[in-house]
């Protein structure tokens, strides 16, 4: 009983907050509703027993990605009248994307109704191993069977990260950054000089 209640609660909240994400006028409100949708999706994953994925969803998406997203959106100064003026121009593209998504949904539900695909059950690789926790099962698969794919995904992300840094990094002239090592290595003898300048003569610095 409580499982059904929790499922319908989370599911309806995901759909409702997803809908409000695209309907909200204020972009900051949209991001906050999106975060609520992520959070409830994590709740759904806990219900199906994928607690590891649920926690990762919250840590990665809610805790890091959405914070940065909110960070950017908060600083934007969005002109709403300009945004509405672009509506007619972008409407055909939007309708096309909506049609593709709808077709995929219909196709997906249709395929699901005609019987589930038997994915990798023959050698038991995709079935949940008995007596293993979620984390151990995912780790065992990722680091044995899918090791090369996993590492390749890591390399792709690393390349993207380095690319972003290279593209946005700019060297500025005349900045005086703090060099902590040099500050600590400095001794009183070399930091202070005792001079006695003659009248009318200054000291060189």
């Amino acid at each position: 009983m409580i499982q059904a209640f929790a499922f319908y609660l989370f599911a309806s909240l995901v759909i409702a907050s997803g809908a409000i994400t695209i309907l909200a006028r204020n972009p900051v409100h949209s991001v906050l509703w999106l975060i609520l949708a992520f959070f409830n999706a994590a709740g759904l994953m806990v219900l199906v027993g994928a607690e590891f994925i649920a926690m990762l969803l919250v840590i990665v998406y809610v805790g890091a990605v959405a914070v940065l997203f909110l960070f950017v959106v908060m600083m934007l100064d969005i002109d709403f009248s300009e945004m509405r003026a672009g509506f007619i121009k972008n409407a055909p593209l939007g309708l096309m994307i909506a049609a593709v998504l709808l077709a995929e949904l219909v196709l997906g539900v249709g395929a699901w109704n005609s019987g589930a695909l038997q994915l990798g059950v023959a050698d038991g690789a995709s079935a949940t191993p008995e007596g293993l926790s979620n984390t151990a099962a995912i780790g065992a698969l990722l680091y044995t069977r899918y090791l090369f794919l996993f590492e390749a995904a890591g390399i792709v992300l690393l390349v993207a990260m380095i690319g972003a840094i290279v593209l946005t990094h700019r060297q500025r002239e005349g900045t005086r950054g703090q060099n902590v090592g040099r500050q600590i290595a400095r001794r009183p003898e070399e930091a202070t000089v005792n001079v006695k300048p003659a009248v009318g003569q200054g000291v060189t610095l």
Partner: protein, 347 residues
């Protein structure tokens, strides 16, 4: 507690619901009371280090000061700035306060005495602590005022920077304990080095604990990392526009977070509810008492640092997080997993 309520003639589902609510209250109410008392303790320690007396008027040696402050704040008028985004402005302190209490669900107070004994307890703590930043960011944006907004910017960058190294630090603990469950992590620390209970006695994990303590201060935005409410630059940061109970919720949430960080230090590195040494005599003292003593010890360290260390500059904070803690914690992940592989820990 479920068998007790079933004994009263309730069905399993009803007993489960009632006992969960009872356990939540059993954790949340003492935490709130503890928060009131540690605010007083914090002020007393801070005063003693500055050679002042601190609160000493309300009640014997001033011990009721926090309650008097609470009553004062409760009776004030709630002022909502006319340009603020009202809904979000009022939700923000509630988020901070709720999130600060949520993470206590997985802290083990004794062997088996934990509200939610879940497999991914440590990840749950990480997930919940990463939610805490929303209270600050939403407050900063919805106040529609310059200083709170600066504070929100600082808070979001600070949290993300230090969560990365905290993640690596926790991986070191998980590698050694072999579990994400906090109770299993505590049990893995029994007799860790000779008869000492606690990962902190391990020479490979001691530097990791030091990094965790400092990152914990940055994560809870305590001095010397309290740039989000730096009064010399930002008035009071994200709390500038808040008054009355909304302000009090930030106040309580902040200290509940600090206590949680102390409890995590105790649980992950200092043996949690285990006594410090594995001697039969020490097991006569209940585990809860050991955990509380360790939490208070760490709270004293937090207060001590607050009273003695000046505030970091923002670029120094970022440098410490990204250029020192991140490479160091990554190095220790490699070193510890390499050591454990070499000694056949996983075999």
């Amino acid at each position: 507690m479920i068998p007790f309520f079933k004994g009263l003639g309730l069905s399993f589902e009803a007993a489960w619901t009632v006992s969960t609510i009872a356990e939540i209250l059993l954790i949340a109410l003492p935490v709130m009371l503890a928060v009131a008392l540690v605010i007083y303790a914090d002020r007393k320690i801070w005063a003693a280090m500055a050679l002042r007396k601190g609160p000493n008027v309300v009640g014997p040696i001033g011990i009721l000061q926090s309650f008097a402050d609470g009553l004062k704040v409760f009776l004030q008028e709630t002022i909502i700035p006319s340009a603020a985004n009202k809904g979000l402005f009022l939700i923000a302190p509630i988020i901070t306060f709720t999130v600060a209490l949520m993470a206590w669900a997985v802290i083990p107070f004794n062997s088996g005495a934990v509200l939610a004994d879940i497999n991914v307890g440590l990840l749950y703590v990480l997930a919940i602590s990463s939610l805490g930043v929303y209270g600050v960011v939403i407050a900063g944006w919805s106040s529609n005022s310059k200083y709170p907004f600066f504070s929100a910017m600082r808070a979001s960058a600070q949290m993300i920077s230090y969560e990365v190294s905290i993640g690596f630090i926790l991986i070191c603990v998980v590698l050694w304990a072999g579990s994400f469950n906090l109770n299993d992590i505590v049990k893995a620390q029994k007799d860790h080095v000779w008869i000492i209970n606690g990962f902190v006695a391990n020479p490979l994990l001691f530097p990791v604990w030091v990094m965790f303590l400092i990152s914990g201060m940055a994560e809870t935005a305590r001095a010397p990392f309290d740039l989000t409410e730096a009064e010399s630059e930002l008035v009071a940061g994200y709390q500038t526009e808040y008054s009355s109970m909304a302000f009090a919720l930030y106040w309580l949430g902040e200290y509940a977070n600090v206590l949680l960080m102390c409890a995590l230090n105790a649980t992950l590195f200092w043996g949690g509810w285990l006594p410090p040494l594995d001697l039969p005599v020490l097991y006569l003292v209940p585990g809860l008492v050991w955990l509380l003593l360790k939490i208070l010890f760490f709270f004293f360290i937090f207060s001590w640092v607050k009273a003695t260390v000046p505030r970091y500059r923002y670029d120094q904070l970022m440098r410490l997080g990204w250029k020192i803690f991140l490479p160091l914690s990554l190095f220790f992940v490699f070193a510890i997993s390499g050591y454990l592989m070499a000694t056949g820990h996983f075999a």
